[in-house]
Amino acid sequence: MASDIILGYDGSDGSKAALAVAVAVARAFDAPLSIVFGYEPNPMGGETADYKDKLEKIGQTMLAGALADAKKLDAGVHTEVLVVPMRPVESLLEAALERQARVIVVGGTGERPIVGAILGSVPHKLLHRSEVPVLVVPAGGE
């Protein structure tokens, strides 16, 4: 049975720091690593197809970079990437459910709590909603 390490990745400094930690955790547990990028355009205002295509391409390019970075850190870890057309938090929860994840790793945003509350902080929401442990890696950590 697979019990992946799930990493939320958006190209930010926090998510880069989280990548390094996630690779180390995957090595320690000898578990496969799934790197996830989630996106979902606001359905208000309708007509989203071209927008979605662009976002998906951005996700693919970003994850291709993340995959290369992960290989550089530890080529022995089985790594795969997922672009999921759901909001970031939902995409991580969904991937965790499907992969029966051991842990979800995300980068801290480094934003002040009030800004996070207004803009919607992924780590914050995950901590409340995830059924598996969540590991938050501060930007600049590691």
Partner: protein, 536 residues
């Protein structure tokens, strides 16, 4: 190891290549309905329009609400079927490009952009006015193009643009709650007002009559078309329910039903509220200069009294906020789509790396809106509300009409294959488009007389004059054109030289042939080969 790709919607690919996710059925009937109605923003639309409709057609405004519903419903069929073939970001832009040709398609895209732009001063102005009413500063609020209202309006546009830029979204549940409150308050307002009318406790009240629904009592035909153009605006936006169909749980049935239901909900709200509004104090109350631009405020005080009238004000403000959002978002997505297909400068396709919004498109649209709002305030002081809303009808009729024609064109080989095809893909969109075209043409002549626009005496381009008779209607321009005509049609016309300019530099987009639908159910090929990601 093996990777399980179940039906939960997460797909994966082997290592060394980036993945592509699957679509997830997320939107149910209620969410689609909410999106459709919230995009239309009934409270704001009524606040901005009801007084002006009454000014044109008097006691027959419920008839106009009913009549304007018909072309909207017909065009909805066009949206529904075209969206099945190509659920593209640019909607009308893409569809018209495919069915009628790239030049017309480009102009249709331009039509969407300028229509979205023209509505912004009105939104900002209504938001400014109602903000001051909410805080009791009625003196400031009554001058709808005064300095302070403009300042608040500009701040409003900036804040809403930033919200779209950063991508803050209300949760679906908040959206449902806000819209629910909006509809409940509007109905409570109508019921209380009608109760007061029947109890005889309101001065100048008039008993409702079914004759108010009779469109044949509206004269002259120019007034009818002016009223219709205004009413077309109040239904504008519900097509969003159709365009989110990809995500719908039952993509074949949900969006169609949601769209139909949202038009019916809107129809009910508009007819009931217009009945209640005009029976309370008569038409004169709605059209007098102080109340015309913000009827819901004036009526709210008369119906609810303080402080309950604040409920109606808040409802207009939340409604205006969702309307601003549903104006900025599709405008930015349209320019994004045009840029992706090389019909617009490339920068408009830029996505903000962190917020994942169409950043450049969003900011440019916000900035141009602010400039345009302030400019209109200076050019046409006192009439921003009226002129922008009258001008809007032209843009909406233009691109909704083109969408109707595009549908008939695109599916023309399949119209006679079944009775259902003939009615829903052929006849309905065609009639809708014809009605809107006729409205457009009649309104051109009607508004060419500045006396018919709300600013009355103010005329632009006073050197223009002509007169002739067509279909027993006498059309004449004595001295100059009414501002709504100049704004509405002028903005559309600016598109022509801009398109030629773009054509001179970028021929690729314009070198394409018309397309035909292979069948009613087959998805269309990518508009620009290589732009839409390959699905394997």
């Amino acid at each position: 190891m093996t990777i399980t790709t179940g039906d939960v919607g997460v797909s994966s690919v082997p290592e060394e290549s980036a993945g592509k996710g699957l679509k997830v059925g997320a939107l149910g009937l209620v969410s689609s309905l909410v999106i459709g109605v919230a995009s239309t923003a009934p409270a704001y639309s009524l606040a901005a329009t009801l007084g002006f409709v009454a000014a044109y057609v008097g006691i027959q405004s419920p008839a106009v609400m009913l009549l304007a519903f018909v072309p909207m419903l017909f065009i909805a069929a066009a949206y529904y079927y075209l969206n099945r073939a190509d659920p593209d970001c640019g909607t009308t832009f893409t569809w018209v490009t495919r069915a009628i040709g790239p030049k017309t398609g480009w102009l249709a895209g331009w039509g969407i952009l300028v229509t979205d732009l023209v509505v912004m001063p009105n939104l900002a102005s209504v938001a400014g006015v109602y903000t001051f009413h909410l805080f009791g500063a009625h003196g400031i609020a009554n001058d709808s193009s005064g300095f302070w209202v403009t300042v608040v309006g500009v701040v409003w546009i900036i804040v809403m643009t930033l919200i779209c830029y950063i991508g803050i979204e209300l949760s679906a549940r908040t959206q449902v709650a806000l819209l629910g409150a909006e509809i409940v308050i509007l109905f409570v307002f109508a019921i209380v007002a009608l109760a007061k009318v029947y109890a005889g406790s309101s001065a100048h009240s008039i008993r409702p009559s079914f004759e108010w629904l009779n469109p044949f009592r509206i004269h002259p035909i120019g007034a009818l078309s002016a009223g219709m153009l205004l009413a077309v605006f109040i239904y504008w936006g519900w097509d969003t329910a159709v365009t989110v169909n990809e995500e719908a749980k039952d993509a074949r049935r949900t969006p169609g039903r949601a769209a139909l239901m949202s038009t019916l909900v809107l129809l009910l709200i508009y007819v009931v509220v217009s009945f209640a509004a005009q029976s309370l104090h008569g038409v004169g109350f709605l059209t007098n200069g102080n109340n015309e631009g913000d009827v819901l405020n004036a009526l709210g005080t008369a119906v609810f009294g303080s402080p309950w009238n604040k409920l109606l004000l808040i409802c207009v403000l939340t409604s205006a906020s969702s309307s601003t959002q549903t104006t900025i978002l599709p405008a930015a997505r349209s320019s994004l789509s045009m840029a992706v297909h090389k019909a617009f400068p490339r920068r408009f396709a830029d996505i903000h790396p962190k917020y994942l919004s169409p950043g450049f498109s969003t900011l440019v649209f916000g900035a141009v809106s602010v400039v345009w709002y302030v400019a209109l305030d200076l050019l046409s002081p006192g009439d921003v509300l009226a002129n922008s809303i009258l001008a809007l009808g032209f843009g909406i009729a233009f691109y909704y009409g083109l969408t109707g024609f595009a549908c008939v064109f695109y599916y023309r080989k399949h119209l006679l294959k079944s009775f259902k095809n003939f009615i829903f893909i052929g006849l309905a969109p065609f009639l809708g488009a014809v009605i809107l075209t006729v409205l457009f043409v009649i309104a051109i002549f009607y508004y060419s007389d500045p006396a018919n626009s709300n600013s009355g005496t103010q005329a632009w381009f006073p050197f223009i004059h002509f007169n002739f008779t067509f279909l027993h209607q006498h059309f004449y321009v004595k001295k100059g054109l009414g501002p709504p005509l100049v704004l509405g049609v002028g903005f559309l016309l600016i598109g022509v030289p801009l398109m030629l300019l773009w054509m001179a530099r970028n021929r690729d987009f314009f070198r394409r042939d018309r397309e035909l639908a292979e069948s009613v159910d087959s998805p269309a090929p990518p508009l620009t080969p290589g732009v839409t990601p390959v699905t394997d």
